[in-house]
């Protein structure tokens, strides 16, 4: 395996570790760290970070994996979070291509919008697949608070994901980190 391959495998392993950490934090820590009864969706935040840093392909695959992992611990049908987060990962990845430079607050702003869109899609999909109890103003309130909370933790999550996706090959300073894994 050449250096490119090794570097790619290292990045995938790091992302897998992030995935495990995300599931543990979401199931064991954040249920006790709620604001107004709402926990953040760290899996969605990590998906946004991966998509923003590595592009739509990596974003959608990570979104699917993170959503699927979390779905295993929820009562809503398996596949709902993975469906929504795949879309969010792809959309953020596509948007990332249009952003040339970003300010320090951009991660939070992007995560907030992604949280709103993701939460709304989740409710709509839930209503379609028979989870009608999700449809209501209280769910809208939950989505709004969760999006704010996601935006709050985004500056902590983005650097971790950026490190996981960093390419350690020696290379000219003029090259950017590039797309994909």
């Amino acid at each position: 395996m050449d250096w490119n391959g090794v570097s790619r495998v290292i990045r995938i392993i790091r992302l897998a570790l992030i995935l495990v950490a995300v599931v543990l934090l979401q199931t064991a820590v954040f249920p006790h760290a709620r604001i107004f009864g709402v926990a953040p969706e760290i899996g969605l935040v990590a998906t946004v970070a991966v998509a923003f840093i590595a592009g739509p392909a990596a974003g959608s695959v990570f979104g699917f994996a993170a959503g699927f992992s979390l779905d295993l611990f929820l009562q809503t049908p398996l596949g709902m979070s993975s469906f929504v987060w795949t879309i969010v990962g792809y959309a953020v990845g596509v948007l990332q291509g249009a952003v040339l430079r970003s300010a320090w607050w951009f991660a939070s702003a992007l995560t907030f919008v992604a949280g709103l869109v993701g939460g709304t899609l989740f409710i709509i999909l839930g209503a379609i697949v028979g989870q009608g109890q999700l449809w209501g103003w209280s769910s809208a309130r939950t989505v709004l608070i969760a999006a704010c909370y996601d935006a709050l933790i985004a500056p902590l999550v983005f650097p971790v994901v950026r490190f996981a996706l960093s390419d350690e090959r020696p290379r000219p300073a003029s090259l950017s980190s590039g797309q994909g894994w």
């Binding site: 599931v23 543990l24 934090l25 979401q26 199931t27 064991a28 820590v29 954040f30 249920p31 006790h32 760290a33 709620r34 604001i35 009864g37 709402v38 926990a39 969706e41 739509p56 392909a57 959608s60 695959v61 699917f64 959503g67 699927f68 992992s69 979390l70 779905d71 295993l72 611990f73 929820l74 009562q75 809503t76 049908p77 398996l78 596949g79 709902m80 993975s82 469906f83 795949t86 879309i87 792809y90 989740f122 409710i123 839930g126 697949v129 028979g130 989870q131 109890q133 999700l134 209501g136 209280s138 769910s139 309130r141 939950t142 969760a146």
Partner: protein
Amino acid sequence: MVAYRKGGRRRVVVILLLITSLALITLDSRGGGGGLVGSIRSISRDALSPAQNAVEDITKPVSEWWSGTTSAGRIERENKRLKRELGIARGRVAAGRTARRENRLLRENQSLTFAPGIPSVAAEVIAASPGNFEDTIAINRGAKDGVAIGMPVVSGEGVIGRISGVASSRSTIRLITDPDSGIGVRFSITNTFAVAQGRSGSNLMRVDFVAPDTTVKKGELIVTSGLQNAAYPSGLPVGKVASVNRLAVNLDQTIYAVPLVDMRQIEFVRVLLWTGTGSAG
């Protein structure tokens, strides 16, 4: 050309992932929580359970601090209310002793003990819901302790919910306050049947399908109906009527009930090893 091909491949990957998600949703919905999807859930929960417990133990002091910080206002209000109630309660202690004695004698006479004759398993609450759109808790008892999906779960005060997911040493309880939870109930005074439904983001349950000519009073106890095919045994305490609003234009009533159990404070529960034949409450 290369960029176009790459973009096309990305789109194919995304479409495949979305189709897989939809297939999973369909499989899970059709399987009713069992089957292949249920097994995958059960295995993954078992596999991650030790790590979850370890992380929870490590972060417990921080979690408790956070909980105290974010709940300071509520705790202060609750403290004032409790002090007020303590004064009233002290005055009622004497009368209460007599009532308790009478109550015990009546129960012994009529064998009206709480969940009589139903074997149960004691369990400790080990986790809260990881999601924002459901009211669930996890306990440290599972299939190897005889726990199965659908079994009712109670605490000292009354019903708290039903088992909705089982791993070998861990189970998930869907609380009666969950919006997807409906429970067949009976008003203790009028003996009228109704259905209590959880509400999203609220500790109150909405009581529906109450006969229009029924007069329901605030504070009236509601218990499980125990009708044929019910998911709960008959007579388990569920909650108290919190408000009754009767519309002037017709005979419809909007009734809300508050559960007897404070769902935020549950530490220990009992799983009744009882499987009803139906899926409706």
